[in-house]
Symmetry: C2
DNA sequence: ACCTTTTATTTCACTGGTGAAATATGACTT
DNA sequence: AAGTCATATTTCACCAGTGAAATAAAAGGT
C-alpha cells in the first residue's frame, strides 16, 4: 500500500476508536481536518520535488510567481509578505536569495521613497518560463480522474472552508 | 477583507494573468493546488493556536493522538515516524519531549529487544482527555455551513487526490 | 520645524525539521 | 559462531521560518 493511503487508513481507524471513547467528538470534521493536512503536505512535497533541481524552495518560487503575475512585474516587501504569507524577516531572506541569483531587483520607490520596490528581471521571467512547463504534467496528473464537476466542487468547498477559517481567525485572534 | 480570502482573490487574478501568458498551463488544477496549500496552512495555524497553550506543537500532538488511539496505547518509533510522517531524528526529539513531560514512556520491547516500545501513560491519557474537548467547537466551526453531502464530497475528493499523489510519488521517487 | 506613523531592514535567539554518518543492539541466516 | 540485516538512536551541520527588539528613513500632520 502506498504511503498516503496507508496513513489515511490508520487515521480512519484511529479516529474511529477515538470517537468511541469521546463521543462528543465531531468525527467527520476531524477526519476532514486530518485529510486536508495529510494531502496538502504530500502535495507540497510533490511540488517541492520539481523545485529542488532549480534550487528554489516553495516560498522563493511563490514570491517569484507573484511578481511574474503582477501586471507591472513589481511589488513591495510588505505586499509580498501578505500574499506569500511570510514574515518580514523571512521575506528579507527570500529577497536576498533571489537578488543574488539575478532574478529580481530591489530598489527604492520613486514616489514614496520609504518603500522598497521589488521587481522581477528579464532573467527572472526567462527562468520562470523555462521551469514552469515541466511542472504542468505533474499538476495535471494530481487531478487525473477528476471530472469538471469534481474540480468545481472541490474549488467551491475549499473556498467555503477558507471563508470559515477567516471568520474563525478574525474573532479569536484578530 | 479577511486574510485568506484576500490571498485567494490575488491568487485567482495572478493565475488568470499567468494562463494568458502561458496558455498550456492547467489553470484550474494550478488553482486547486494553491487553494489546497493556502487553506491547509491556515487550518494548521488554527489548530496550532489551540495547542500552544498546552506547549504542544503539531507533531507532538499528533504523535500523542496516534498513541492514544491505538488499542493498546503503544507503538514503536518506526511506526510513529511513518504515521506522523516524520523523520527518525525528529521523532527522537518528539519522544524526548513527551517523555520529559511524563506523557509517554519509552522502553525496550520484550519480544524483539531491538525495538523500542513507546507507550502513552495514564497521565498522557488524562492530558489528552482534558485538552481535546476545547478543540471541538473550533473544528466544528470550520465546517459550518457544510451539508452532509458537502462533507462526503470533500472527503471523497481529498481521498481521490491522495490516491493520485501516491501514484505520482511511487513512479517518480519510489 | 517637530512629532508621529509607516515601512523596511537587520540582528538575535529560538523552534521545527532534514539528511547523512556513526554507533549500538540484537535478531536471523547459514 | 560468524556474518548480515533491521532497528533505533545520537550527533552534526544544515535549512526554513518566527518573534521581538533596534535602527533607519522618509512621508504626512500639526
Amino acid at each position: 500500500m502506498a504511503r498516503l493511503t496507508n496513513c489515511i487508513t490508520m487515521m480512519d481507524e484511529g479516529i474511529g476508536r477515538m470517537s468511541q471513547i469521546v463521543p462528543q467528538m465531531p468525527a467527520a470534521e476531524a477526519r476532514l481536518c486530518r485529510l486536508m493536512l495529510m494531502v496538502s503536505t504530500s502535495l507540497e512535497e510533490e511540488l517541492e520535488f520539481k523545485l529542488k533541481p532549480h534550487k528554489l524552495n516553495h516560498s522563493e518560487f511563490l514570491t517569484l510567481m507573484i511578481l511574474y503575475s503582477r501586471p507591472d512585474g513589481s511589488s513591495t516587501p510588505g505586499e509580498l509578505c501578505e500574499f506569500a504569507t511570510q514574515g518580514a524577516t523571512n521575506m528579507t531572506r527570500i529577497a536576498n536569495a533571489l537578488v543574488k541569483r539575478g532574478l529580481i531587483t530591489r530598489g527604492a520607490s520613486e514616489e514614496d521613497r520609504r518603500r522598497v520596490l521589488i521587481r522581477i528581471t528579464p532573467a527572472g521571467r526567462r527562468f520562470v518560463l523555462k521551469m514552469l512547463p515541466p511542472m504542468f504534467p505533474r499538476v495535471a496528473t494530481m487531478f487525473a480522474g477528476f471530472s469538471d464537476n469534481d474540480k468545481r466542487n472541490l474549488s467551491r468547498l475549499l473556498r467555503k472552508l477558507a471563508h470559515n477559517l477567516d471568520q474563525l481567525s478574525e474573532t479569536s485572534h484578530p
